[in-house]
Structure formats: structure tokens, C-alpha cells
């Protein structure tokens, strides 16, 4: 078993309030880890710690270590910009930047200094294909990213991350605002992508976790309650809280 992230005693505070309470968790490489739990359980905060987006909020404090391939990415000496290039994130609401589809996809790559037209063209085709979007937009790459449907926008956001060729992809309830067809397209894409990437999927939809994740973790009020293979969590949870949540008695 290959471990991508090893999270040890991770606590996150915003101001005086604690959002994660000393969490320990391992994330396997080339697998999808589903994270479920009611709102306010700290799921998104965990993602925010993995690529240090939390730091953008004022008064945020993160304690503990997060080892990525054995290196502590939470240390102040670790280059946060490089981290975000290696660990991409897709947010709950699709947010295409107000520029063309093409420019959206290459935004991150251009930031790293790649400006070779041929290389960029290749990247755009590859990433959009991986995100199951290429066939729908290949004739209108110059169209504004704001002008396509919500489902397409979310896949564009995924493609934008893929173009960076990251090591891990974080998804924060990526299909919460989408219709079932768009959702299944994204799930199809994720299923193929896990061969190349480590994926952490936060979802409110327990069925989605059951469908596509290899492992599942259950969070409640900032505590990591239980983690295990998806099959075990959904059929034989060890903790009563987990059982209550997945059977719908709570949450």
C-alpha cells in the first residue's frame, strides 16, 4: 500500500474556534478517498489544509503535520505555491474565470511560465478530454468560460486542475449543484483519473461516496470518527455514529 498523505494530529482554528480536532488520517495513492459527514464536520477544512488554501482566511491557524511522500507540507519552509501546483482543488460551485475556455485551462500552466503555443494546445486537448469535456467544446475554445452550462463549467474547472498535471486532486462537493447526468460524467472522469492521481472527494451525497470511492472517512464536528474501505464503512461500520449517518437516522 502506497501512502500519499499521512496526516498527524491536525488541528485547524479560525480565530478562537476549532474546526478540526487532532485528526489522524492516511490517504492512499491512486485511490479515491471519499469524505462524508454532515455540514460543519470539518470536511472542507481538511481539504483546505491539504493544499493550504485555509491560510488565505485571516486568523487561521493550523497545527500538526501533513506528510506528502514523507515531506511535511505544513511546515512554514515548504513553498506553498509549489504545493498548490501539485495538489489541485475543484470547489463546490463551478467558478470559471471570466476568460475563454482555452485560457481557463492554461491559466495555471501559464503561471508556471509555459508559453509555448504547441505545448499549450496539447495540454488543453488532453485535459479537456480527461475531464470528458473535449467533444463538447472543441469547436468553441474561444468562448467565454462563463457561457457554458453549469455541468460543463464544473468539468472545465476539473480540466483546469488536470492541465497542471498535479499529483493529487481535491474535490469539494463537486456535484452539489449539478443535475444527475452532469454528475455521472464527472464520476466517470474521476474513475479513470484515479489511475494517475490521488483523489480526495468530499461529498454530502453518501451514495456518491458509495459509488465511486475506494476508501471512505466519516467526519463529525471536527473529529475523524472512522475510516476504512468503502465496502466496510457502508456495510459494517465500527462506530454507531457512522451507522446512524449512513442509514439516514442522522444528518
Amino acid at each position: 500500500m502506497n501512502i500519499k498523505f499521512k496526516i498527524e494530529n491536525l488541528s485547524v482554528y479560525f480565530g478562537k474556534e476549532q474546526f478540526l480536532n487532532s485528526v489522524n488520517l492516511e490517504v492512499e495513492a491512486n485511490k479515491i478517498l471519499g469524505i462524508i459527514g454532515p455540514s460543519g464536520s470539518g470536511k472542507s477544512t481538511l481539504l483546505g489544509a491539504l493544499n493550504r488554501m485555509n491560510e488565505l482566511e485571516p486568523y487561521c491557524r493550523t497545527e500538526g503535520t501533513i506528510l506528502m511522500d514523507g515531506v511535511d507540507i505544513n511546515s512554514s519552509t515548504y513553498n506553498v505555491i509549489n504545493l498548490r501546483k501539485k495538489v489541485g482543488i475543484v470547489f463546490a460551485m463551478p467558478v470559471p474565470l471570466p476568460m475563454s475556455i482555452y485560457e481557463n485551462v492554461v491559466y495555471g500552466v501559464r503561471l508556471s511560465g509555459v508559453n509555448d503555443k504547441k505545448r499549450l494546445d496539447e495540454l488543453v486537448e488532453k485535459s479537456l478530454s480527461e475531464a470528458f469535456l473535449w467533444n463538447e467544446v472543441k469547436d468553441r475554445l474561444n468562448l467565454s468560460g462563463l457561457r457554458i452550462s453549469g455541468g460543463q463549467q464544473q468539468r472545465l474547472c476539473l480540466a483546469r486542475v488536470l492541465a497542471m498535471e498535479p499529483e493529487a486532486i481535491l474535490l469539494d462537493e463537486p456535484s452539489s449543484g449539478l443535475d444527475p447526468i452532469s454528475t455521472s460524467k464527472i464520476e466517470d472522469a474521476l474513475n479513470q483519473l484515479k489511475e494517475k492521481y490521488t483523489i480526495v472527494l468530499v461529498t454530502n451525497n453518501t451514495k456518491q461516496a458509495a459509488r465511486i470511492s475506494d476508501n471512505t472517512a466519516y467526519f463529525l464536528l471536527g473529529d475523524m470518527i472512522e475510516v476504512g474501505s468503502t465496502k466496510q464503512i457502508f456495510t459494517a461500520p465500527l462506530k454507531k455514529e457512522t451507522d446512524d449517518y449512513i442509514t439516514g437516522r442522522f444528518g
Binding site: 493544499n51 488554501m53 488565505l56 485571516p58 505555491i81 509549489n82 498548490r84 501546483k85 489541485g88 482543488i89 470547489f91 460551485m93 467558478v95 474565470l97 471570466p98 476568460m99 491559466y107 495555471g108 503561471l111 508556471s112 467565454s144 462563463l146 457561457r147 474547472c157 483546469r160 486542475v161 497542471m164
Partner: protein
């Protein structure tokens, strides 16, 4: 006592409508008054000829040059300073004591009467620094004068850019400056342009501060150390001193048309820019 809402509705709308019509009439009257008296004077020769006898006869060519060059000079200084100040305030700091002081200072600067800017520019740029009455002195004074306008409008515009854009940009590995350059500023541009337009308008229309610092020479300037006269100053001198009311109206009409032209140009370019992006 309670009046039927229907009547208050009717009364309120009547009052509002008449107040608006009255306001618009006043404003339209001012424009027409100037254009009616000024347009007959206006013509190619009026714009391209040099004035004679202090503007009693001849055209307004040198003041046209002054009116273009002085605001351009002022804006060349104030725009970068103003935008970078607003970027600093909106993107680079939390609300601290320093930002509060900067913001308070900006507000105070905005409230200072132009005559005080004129006095200051006269002692500081004209006398102390020895720039004399010149485009340099006038431009610097105007730059200080319009700086707060640019800072406030740009800051508003930058804050109006959705936070989600910044989040996305950071998540894709952008540094703060890259985010500002590639996402924040392009999206705040319409608001920033509005601020610049307001500043151009203010510096074109200013008289008190300009007379004290850029002087009122009617010669065509050959360097930034030369004095110049803007159309507003020319109008003031012509009308006040009773040199020529025809030429005064002609100058005022030119000013109004010029301002209109600049505004239309700005609207047009901005709409094209917005259309291109969305």
C-alpha cells in the same frame, strides 16, 4: 391619523416626478445656454488659431494643448500611484491601524478645497522646488488632487471582484501578485476607468489650483517647464475680465463637447472590453 396609501403613493410619485423634471430642466438649460451662445463661435479656425489680444480675438489653440497636456500629465502620475495604493489596501493587508490611517488620509485629501491645493502647489512646487509656473507644477498639483478619487473608486472596484476568482487563482498556484495582475485588475477595470474619467473631468474643469501652479501663459508650451493655460482658466479670464464673452462661450462650448467626447470614448472602449471578456 392614517392616510390611504393610494393617496400617499400618488402624492409621492407626483413630487418625485416633478422634482426630477425640474432637475433635468436646470441641467439641460445649462448645457443649452452654453451651446447656444458658444456654437456659433466654434469652428475649425477657432480651434486651430492662436489667440490675439489676450483672447479678445483669434482662436484657442494653445489652451486646447494645455487642456490636453495638463490632465494627461497629472493622470500619468496619479493613476499608477492610485491603483497600486488601492491594490495594497484591498489585496495586501488586513484592516490594521495603518490602513485606517491611509484611508482617513485619503478621505481628508479628497475633501481639501482646490484653493488649498493651489496655495500648496504654489509654495511647494513653484517656489520651494523652483519649478516655476509650469506644466510640471500644475500637473503634480492636479495629481495630488485627483489621487484620492482614483484610490477610492479603484478600491471599490477591486473589492467588488468576486472572492471566488481569487480563490481559484490561488488554488492553481498563482502568487498574490499574479492573481492581482491576471484576475483582479482586469475584472476591476471598468470601475477603475470610471475613477480615471472622473479625475480627468475634475482636472479639466479645475481653475483655482491651476492658475496658482501652471500659470496662465497663452503661449504654446515647448517643455514641461513651460507655463500653460487650460480652457477652463481661459474661460474664467475671458468671462471674468470681460475680455470677450463670445470667445468665452466658444471656449465653454468646446469644453463641454470635449468632455462629452471623452466620456463617450470611455464608455465605448469599456463596453468593447466587457463584451470581449464575457
Amino acid at each position: 391619523m392614517r392616510i390611504n396609501p393610494k393617496y400617499t403613493q400618488w402624492g409621492a410619485v407626483t413630487i418625485l416626478t416633478s422634482a426630477t423634471i425640474f432637475t433635468i430642466l436646470i441641467l439641460v438649460f445649462i448645457i443649452f445656454f452654453i451651446l447656444e451662445k458658444g456654437l456659433p463661435v466654434l469652428g475649425l479656425s477657432f480651434l486651430t488659431e492662436n489667440p490675439q489680444e489676450m483672447g479678445k480675438a483669434g482662436g484657442i489653440f494653445p489652451t486646447l494643448i494645455g487642456t490636453i497636456i495638463l490632465p494627461v500629465f497629472a493622470l500619468l502620475i496619479a493613476t499608477p500611484l492610485g491603483i497600486s495604493t488601492s491594490v495594497y489596501l484591498a489585496e495586501y493587508t488586513k484592516e490594521t491601524r495603518i490602513t485606517k490611517v491611509i484611508r482617513f488620509g485619503t478621505d481628508c485629501l479628497a475633501g481639501i478645497p482646490s484653493i488649498i491645493f493651489g496655495l500648496f502647489g504654489y509654495i511647494f512646487f513653484v517656489i520651494t522646488l523652483g519649478f516655476g509656473w509650469s506644466i510640471l507644477s500644475g500637473g503634480l498639483t492636479l495629481a495630488v488632487m485627483v489621487l484620492p478619487t482614483i484610490i477610492r473608486t479603484s478600491e471599490e472596484a477591486i473589492r467588488a471582484v468576486p472572492n471566488s476568482y481569487r480563490k481559484v487563482s490561488f488554488s492553481l498556484g498563482a502568487s498574490r501578485w499574479q492573481t492581482v495582475k491576471k484576475v483582479v485588475l482586469p475584472n476591476a477595470l471598468p470601475g477603475i476607468v470610471t475613477g480615471i474619467m472622473l479625475s480627468i473631468g475634475r482636472s479639466i474643469g479645475e481653475t483655482a489650483a491651476v492658475i496658482f501652479t501652471a500659470g496662465s501663459s497663452l503661449r504654446i508650451p515647448s517643455s514641461v517647464f513651460d507655463s500653460t493655460r487650460t480652457m477652463a482658466v481661459h474661460f474664467y479670464i475671458l468671462a471674468r475680465e470681460g475680455i470677450s464673452s463670445e470667445n468665452a462661450y466658444g471656449t465653454a462650448a468646446t469644453l463641454i463637447i470635449a468632455v462629452l467626447f471623452v466620456n463617450l470614448l470611455a464608455y465605448y472602449t469599456m463596453h468593447r472590453f466587457i463584451a470581449k471578456r464575457s
